[in-house]
Amino acid sequence: MTYVRPTFRHPDLPKNNINFTKKDYEGALSTLCAGCGHDSISGAIAQACFELSVEPHRIAKLSGIGCSSKTPAYFLGNSHGFNTVHGRMPSVATGAYLANRDLLYFGVSGDGDSASIGMGQFVHAIRRNLNMVYLVMNNGCYGLTKGQDSATADNGSKSKAGSVNPFNAIDLVGLSMELGATFVARSFSGDKAQLIPLIKAAIKHPGFAFIDVISPCVTFNNNVGSTKSYDYVREHIEATSTVDFVPIMEEITADYEDGKEITLHDGSALQLQKLHQGWNPEDKLSAMIALQNAKDKGEILTGLVYIDPNTNALHDVLQTTQTPLNILKEDILCPGIDALEALNESLR
């Protein structure tokens, strides 16, 4: 099998504002199972970056370990990527973000990677409000180690081997809201129309943006009885709204009479149409109630669940210089010999 795509470029491919084609946002050929939800998400990430005209090299992709965490190899081939260790991507992302505040950080993880082994790091990344997108490809199982239940598997759901999961699921969406994430969304790998605008908005969000994407594992967890199967999700999905992302300066054409528009930090807009009843994504309490109601009914609420567009990310809290730390040189960093001599003198 070849992992590298042929580099042939079609001359007529459409270009974005900064002259890149969609191919410039693609990665190596995926080695995941045919039909795996994760591949659709990779495609959505590439598409979102293309549409947003993000310079590919200004994005850093980070992941943990798992089928999901392999995907950064399959999108944004012109971006640096870091496939770290199992459950520890948040800490590596924290260090990377501290080193250079000017890049966009895109973290990809799995439900095992974030809700089990990596739970500690996941919650602390939210608490610190890293400026990053954190996307979990949630299939309710450990794909890479062949289908064991994960901590997001629903109580009562059946694995391929037939066993029933007796434990309650951890809901990463509810949890991240509780922890103070300022952008919380859920989507479905099969719903690109919803997923792409959400990813674009998440990239624009100046703080921690969490997206939980239900992403069925066709090999181990797509059977009848699994609440993370294509069939179950399609039948029980309940969108909070229809989502559209309008970049800054672009004319707003859509009609959003019964909807809501949220202005993002840089002036671009997130349009939400057909709002779910009784729910306001800028009101945490109503968002949490809507989430709980859906859960009680066995429905999967998708869309932008909660947002607070004004947020202070970690560098603001730490009062770090605007210059990326990784380009500072001796002249600024080293206090010099006079200071050292004064210090010596004070220790005599």
């Binding site: 260790v85 948040p90 800490s91 080193a99 730390l325 001796e330 080293c334």
Partner: protein, 599 residues
């Protein structure tokens, strides 16, 4: 017997009673009189209420290791009094609070008791309970100054420096000192047989702790990102880093900082942040102790295999497990050298004094980026948390940070395909790129899985083996650039050699002198780093017997030498101390002498 500038004083205090600053003023005063001192804190893993000791060795000859046998005990803790009485050497002195009479069971015939009614004086002089507590400490320092002939003006000067701008406090403290002096003048013959005489033996040297020196070294070396999780005895490394970074790296106008410090949720996260920051081109470090190193293993392996710089300062304490958290040891050598699963090895540096801590920490950042691998600085509790007399810090103003092999956008523009793991220079060290350098060139996917020279995933055995061999070549390159061992002799003079490192150095040096007095001549080598280079091997080759002095039970450094070098293990004789207290010269002499007889 008069002992001038050669004795040990021990203070027995209760944790959390403000004795620490009084005790260190005592040590500093002797240091200011030009006489070498070695203060040591002996403290429990507790915040308040348990016994703590502070020990000061005064040594005209400049020996800075710990010495067994207390010449003068200042006993202000009834809890530990029995033990404290017992620990005084025959002919020594025992100072105690005589507000209440001393119980018969504490009386020994062979030592001199000097009772000072410390509490009584305080009750009489002060009304505020806090003052009564604090000035008790100052009063005994005053008494000691008279008993040991410490110059009063030196103490006054120290107080003036400590409470600069708070004249009232200075006056109150000086008055408390005088209360102690007065009591001695009125009640005892003084000075004692043991005493201090002014000398000029200190020169330009400084008195500072190893952790502070590591933190300062990281500031000078340009570390910008620090991530850590609190653990004794490493905590003050990052605290001092923060102190100096705030002082030297904060914009006076905007308040913006040219550094970032994160207290992580655990050590896994701390080292993860360090790896992430270094991957992204910032100099970053963490500090921890044994339990933290255990947790960091997986990331250290990633750093080794994915070739990411990282600096880890391990302030060793007594293991295994939680062990004795506030006692010292050199027992993380094995776990550090081979941290993580698979064929993994790491560069280690062994500072032995504060100046070393400063320099080797700074060097660690250069080495980490030059070699693109984690570097572990192995210090210990004794070095980290105690003040040591050290040569002053030096910094070459011409020094440039060695950022290692990094391609710039321009380099990438003018070259063919970038291969992250290509051995272009034949030294095993590849070139890396920082994220965000060039729009279309130089990006790659960093991973802990095996990959080819272009960072593309592969499970091809031949490609895997080739990569592992290149890493081995890089290890050989490391041998040439890590700090070389220090030899105490220009030419070997004896069939007997001795190897030591870190804080075993002080007592080893003293033991060498003591043995020489008994006509036992030892050639000596102080290890500064791992991997070992040819000179280390040659030294062992050149001697019939080599004593390896270290502070752990399993002779971990000896094992490392045997494991890494083609030498006859029988030549290497263990000299060990692992009771949690710093090794002493007496112990070394005893062990070596014992072996000389049997050999």
């Amino acid at each position: 017997m008069t002992k001038i500038n050669d004795f040990v004083v021990r203070f027995a205090n209760v944790n959390g009673t403000g004795s620490a600053s009084a005790n260190s003023m005592f040590a500093k005063a002797i240091f200011r009189m030009g006489v070498p001192v070695t203060p040591k804190n002996i403290f429990p893993s507790n915040i308040q209420g348990l016994p703590t000791w502070y020990e000061v060795r005064v040594s005209e000859k400049g020996y800075l290791g710990r010495r067994e046998g207390i010449d003068l005990m200042v006993s202000v803790n009834p809890q530990s009094m029995m033990k404290d009485v017992e620990s005084v050497r025959s002919g020594g002195y025992f100072i105690y609070d005589s507000t209440k009479p001393l119980h018969k069971e504490y009386i020994r015939e062979d030592i001199t008791y000097l009772g000072i009614p410390l509490m009584g004086i305080c009750m009489e002089q002060y009304t505020d309970p806090r003052q009564r507590q604090l000035f008790k400490n100052i009063i005994y320092v005053g008494a000691l100054s008279a008993l040991l002939d410490i110059e009063f003006t030196v103490l006054e000067q120290l107080l003036a420096e400590q409470f600069k701008g708070k004249e009232k406090l200075v006056a109150l403290n000086v008055q408390a000192l005088q209360l102690g002096v007065k009591y001695v003048q009125e009640n005892f013959t003084f000075p004692l047989e043991i005493r201090v005489e002014r000398r000029d033996l200190v020169g330009k040297r400084i008195l500072f702790d190893g952790n502070g020196a590591c933190g300062l070294g990281a500031v000078y070396a340009g570390a910008t990102v620090a991530a850590w999780y609190p653990i004794t005895p490493s905590t003050s490394v990052v605290e001092k880093f923060e102190k100096y970074a705030k002082k030297f790296r904060t914009d006076k106008v905007t308040g913006e900082k040219n550094f970032a410090i994160v207290q992580a949720e655990d050590e896994l996260a701390a080292i993860g942040m360090v790896v992430g920051a270094n991957w992204n081109g910032a100099r970053s470090f963490t500090a921890t102790s044994g339990p933290g190193v255990s947790l960091m293993n997986e990331f250290l392996g990633l750093g080794y295999f994915a070739e990411i710089p990282a600096v880890l300062i391990d302030v060793q304490r007594t293991g295994p497990s939680t062990g004795m958290p506030t006692r010292t040891q050199q027992s993380d050598i094995t776990v550090s050298a081979y941290a993580s699963h698979g064929d993994t090895k790491h560069v280690l540096l062994f500072p032995s004094n504060p100046k070393d801590c400063f320099e080797l920490t700074a060097d660690a950042f250069d080495l980490a980026e030059r070699l693109q691998t984690p570097i572990i600085v192995l210090t210990d509790l004794d070095l980290g948390m105690n003040d040591h007399m050290s040569e002053p810090f030096e910094w070459n103003p011409e020094r440039k940070y060695d950022r290692g092999k990094v391609y710039t956008a321009e380099d990438l523009e003018n070259m063919g395909r970038f291969g992250r793991y290509l051995d272009s220079d034949g030294d095993g060290i590849p070139y890396r790129t920082y994220p965000g350098t060039h729009p279309t060139k130089g990006s790659y996917f960093t991973r802990g899985t095996s990959r080819d020279e272009y960072a593309v995933y592969t499970e091809d055995s031949a490609v895997y083996v080739k990569n592992m061999q290149r890493l081995e070549k890089k290890w050989d390159t490391a041998k040439e650039i890590v700090p070389k061992p220090y030899f105490y002799q220009e030419k070997n003079m004896s069939p007997l050699g001795v190897i030591f490192f870190g804080t075993s150095t002080y007592s080893s040096e003293e033991a060498i002198d003591l043995l020489r007095e008994q006509d036992v001549v030892l050639d000596a080598m102080q290890l500064k780093s791992f991997p070992f280079n040819k000179e280390v091997e040659q030294f062992i080759e050149d001697h019939e017997v080599v004593f390896v002095i270290e502070q752990n039970r399993d002779a971990q450094m000896r094992s490392l030498l045997v494991n890494e070098l083609e030498i006859n293990p029988k030549k290497l004789i263990r000299v060990l101390n692992y009771d949690g207290m710093p090794i002493t010269a007496d112990k070394i002499v005893k062990e070596i002498s014992k072996n000389l007889v049997t050999n």
